[in-house]
Subunit: 619 residues, 2 copies
């Protein structure tokens, strides 16, 4: 007898040697569903989202147009296909891709950092069956069953009245085709038809001065647009303390500060959405970092205690809030994810930095310094992290410096000392003043060229003995009864660094340096054990590490280990937005970081005094 081969049946082999005989033309999705294989088809199996990837190691056919559009040539050659639309037309062996294989890389501007995109909010397309006389499950039950049948969601635990009210008309008016917006195990809303292709979020970094928002695709992790604005709270005070004072003095102060920051966030959502060709209704998730005061004001919580010893905030936990509870104008089914704080002056922005730098997963001990009006510092590795904050004062940001200005057009941003003095100006225009990085360079130059004592006293021209210093001593001029160093003289004004400016800088750098010393001591290590120094923040991105080491802001022996990482807080916000795992991780990290209170540390005053001196220059 001759065995007749049935050409309409094929054998498909899945991992675990699971062999299935299937009809010709069946999709892999149908095969897997029938076999009870738990697999995720986010867009409901329409070849849209490109998330249901499998590798066909034997029997792979020509890729379909949808696959060619979304996959790389390399992937196509490897046999990667969409399980939802690939049809079986012969015997086939299928492999699943591990999580690692399908992870999307999040590219962060300044950090070489990748993470798996796993958005907090997900969407699931459903074709809900209709009730019959023999199947009495309710519409709501069918929706829940449809979601759990798709895998990844074990159980729906909520029965929200607002969503239930939409069910009758929504199903009837859309041929029972809906998209569920899901957060954790909760249905947040139902949308008509298939809307799985639209899922966006915005990561915010609320600075005391500037608010920046990054609009991201929550499927790919891609950044689609950026919008930023001056923090409108500046009208009530330039810094944290003056805003807290406003809250304490004015009965409407808290409401004012909360209202204007919410308005700014709403404005940025609208702008960023428009730039990306979207609407604010397409935004389903928002993440927030900011210092503890910005954090409290954003949430409408009185930050008063942050300014009063023992400087303890009201709350440090990760907080997830409904947009309505904050008047955030985005998709109301979305959620706002606020990163946790550590202490009154170590805020969610520092947690963002921690997240972006993965300090909590580092084998090596690293020092992370976020320099601004306050200097926040983290020291440690995956086993233990210490944090502290010092009131550095505004010198690093160019404030309260005689010729100081922010790092904007016209600011001298870098100064080089040599036989002649050279400098660069932001946007190459006539210089208007100096910003923090140029102040640092200048003071470092004064140290290295013997134009200043280690106490910070600027020498008189006749006291200068250093050979290069000799060439520059004409720039030492008298100003207000002390000496100053002249950088430039224009028709209208002198741009200089005065004795008083040096004192301001000394206070700031001593506070920072003392903080570093005490963290190192508290950690029980030597400075040399620090393998990397990461400078975060806008200022941290501009300063010359050499200058920072020459003046003793950063210990000199670490100079070649310094790396500038830019706005790491914003990068952390993006990570927390794109990945529920990362957000979870920062909650744990915040609880495990040990906060070191410098104010009550008896060694602080002595260390601070020591650090007021400038180090001896290397030859």
């Amino acid at each position: 007898m001759r065995k007749v081969m049935d050409m309409t049946k094929h054998e498909v082999i899945f991992p675990g040697d699971l062999k299935l005989t299937v009809e010709d033309g069946t999709t892999l999705k149908e095969v897997m569903n029938d076999a009870g294989i738990n697999f995720d088809f986010p867009c409901g199996g329409r070849g849209r989202c490109g998330k249901c990837l499998v590798r066909i190691t034997a029997g792979v056919g020509e890729a379909l147009a949808e696959e060619k559009k979304k996959l790389t040539e390399e992937q196509l050659e490897e046999g990667i296909r969409f399980a939802c639309i690939t049809k079986v037309h012969g015997n086939m062996t299928v492999e699943f891709l591990s999580d690692k294989n399908i992870q999307h890389k999040i590219l962060l501007s300044s950090l070489d950092r990748s993470a798996k995109v796993e958005p907090h909010i997900t969407k699931r397309y459903l074709e809900v069956e209709k009730a019959t006389m023999t199947d009495h499950r309710t519409d709501w039950q069918r929706i829940k069953d449809g979601l759990t049948a798709q895998g990844n969601i074990a159980e729906i635990t909520n029965n929200p009245v607002d969503v239930l009210r939409t069910v009758p008309d929504l199903l009837r008016q859309n041929q029972h085709k809906v998209t569920a917006v899901v957060y954790n195990n909760e249905i947040r809303s139902l949308e008509p038809g298939n809307t799985t292709d639209k899922l966006y979020g915005m990561a915010f970094d609320i600075g005391t001065t500037t608010v920046a928002g990054f609009l991201m695709d929550l499927y790919t992790g891609q950044q689609l647009s950026v919008a930023s604005t001056l923090n409108p709270q500046t009208q009530f005070g330039a810094d944290v303390i003056s805003r807290i004072t406003h809250v304490s003095n004015d009965p409407n102060g808290l409401a004012d500060l909360n209202r204007v920051i919410i308005q700014a966030i709403n404005k940025l959502i609208g702008e960023a959405a428009e730039k990306a060709g979207l609407t604010r209704n397409d935004i389903y998730a928002v993440s927030i970092v900011g210092n503890t005061c910005m954090h409290h004001l954003f949430l409408g919580i009185n930050p008063r205690d942050v300014a009063i010893a023992p400087y303890v905030p009201i709350v440090t936990d990760s907080i997830v809030v409904d947009p309505q509870d904050l008047q955030i104008e985005m998709n109301p089914a979305g959620k706002v994810f606020v990163l946790p704080n550590i202490a009154g002056f170590v805020g969610a922005d520092t947690i963002g930095v921690l997240l972006a730098t993965e300090l909590d997963e580092s084998e090596e001990i690293k020092l992370i310094v976020d320099i601004g009006t306050n200097g926040e510092m983290l020291l440690g590795n995956k086993d233990h992290i210490l944090a502290c904050s010092t009131a550095a004062g505004p010198a690093f940001e160019g404030a309260q410096i005689s010729s100081g200005m922010r790092g904007a057009t016209g600011a001298i941003d870098h100064v080089t000392f040599g036989e002649e003095l050279t400098y660069t100006v932001i946007d190459d225009v006539e210089p208007l003043g100096i910003c923090g990085s140029a102040l640092l360079d200048t003071v470092a130059g004064l140290v290295e060229c013997g134009l200043m004592e280690d106490t910070g006293r600027i020498l008189k021209p006749e006291e200068v003995t250093h050979p290069i210093g000799q060439k520059l001593k004409d720039r030492l001029i008298e100003h207000d009864g002390s000496m100053a160093f002249l950088l430039e003289e224009t028709k209208t004004k002198k741009i200089m660094v005065t004795q008083k400016d040096i004192r301001e800088l000394q206070l700031a750098k001593a506070a920072m340096a003392a903080g570093i010393q005490l963290l190192v001591k508290g950690y029980g290590i030597e400075v040399g054990d620090i393998k990397e120094v990461l400078l975060a923040g806008a200022f941290g991105n501009y300063l010359n590490p050499h200058s920072a080491c020459v003046i003793g802001l950063i210990p000199r022996e670490l100079e070649d280990r310094v790396k500038m990482i830019g706005n790491a807080a914003g990068a952390g916000s993006q990570l927390a937005l794109l990945s529920s795992g990362e957000y979870q991780r920062c909650g744990n990290a915040a609880r495990n970081v040990e906060f070191v209170e410098l104010g009550t540390n008896p060694a602080f005053t002595d260390t601070f005094a020591e650090q007021m001196l400038f180090p001896e220059p290397n030859e």
Copy 2:
């Protein structure tokens, strides 16, 4: 050497032979806290709530005034004391009371049923420590730690912005003394000072005609007041179907019906609170039962599908809702607990009945019948329960009956046939008409006295042969071309039961009886296997079981097993309000009840036709 006894130390022995040496004058609460014994002090240990009972089996002292006030003499003699205020003044042996011992009995008017009071919402008094330079926990963390330290709450899982906003001022203005309102593991609100003594709730039964609310003390289970009102939805239609028609025909129909029932609930909360000397803000929990249509309208969900085959509601799950989402005016930190449904015509009211009767825990098979416009029936025991519903029509409620009226003042409610005919009238006034129970008695009398054929045809006087019937045959009169039976003739009108009335009743009783027959058949038992028949509902409380059996509404052989249980749905609502365990149980029960659709059952039509006949009377 002589051993000196230290008179200021005593030994306290706890269960498990735990021996502790404690200072004289220490309270048992302090001892237990220090020893890490997990024990519940709901009022924070001030001798107020009387919930922290222990039995002192050796070394018991005189009871304190607070104890004498709250405990019975029997309890005091047994050595029962409050652990929070009892001080150790000698060696002592302490026993914990098992859950069973301390359970408060909930007395339900018509049911011999007790349950443990374990309210959904609890209150905890806290004296929150202040932050110091060495203890940097936030205020919020201290509150959470204070709650978990009291036992019974393992973890607080929410960080609600609205509550966080209240923290700074609340603590400062109340010497850090606050009461937390807790639901599950969530803080719902913080109240100034100690408010643990105020914790009340209202159980509602939303009937198609009448809405009743019972105000209960959530600590003791005591009913403090009752308020009821006509369901204002009657202005849009007397019954379920006409209200659904209004929803379908009028674009504002759903909003109208939802608005008026919410207004009624709010009115009843206010009334019941006032009667009990409370305010609506003292109400922290509300429970709701009602038929599926009332349930959907209360929640604002379109009930249209309930009236269209296959009669499937939108949702059957237990639903817990924030008061704000329903515009319920009660304490906003409270919750509304809606009981689950089973099917379109087996609603949350039936689940209330199930809960009150404990059918799901019964060893014996019982039949529960809730008679109204619809007849809902449950048959089963702890292993399996079947449910069905039949459209009984309004006959049982006295509607669409020629002389019919509701069971109100002036209604003939019971009729006795004998040599002379006697009857009783509600409130002993001049009779105005008959209500359902009297209709049943009359028809049963007609059967038993041979004044009617088994087909339901009323005999003419000359056809009567039964000896007692002979004495009453003058009451057989012509009316609209058929016969009628005259009960009373007043100056202005005749109160009678007409041939048409009999036909209405026949339809109703045939539907109910057929439902019972099919449930019995579906369950695979004989009628005689039913050990108890429980009649619920207002009508079920008035009818004469003998009459119900004579006309065949209830199988005759079960007559001596019939018990009337009154408003069991309302009792179930009270249980679900007072006990989170009972509410949990009804969710499970609702999922496990098997709904039997009579409409598609091919045997229904035949059985219905059979049951149209009246049974042969016993001699």
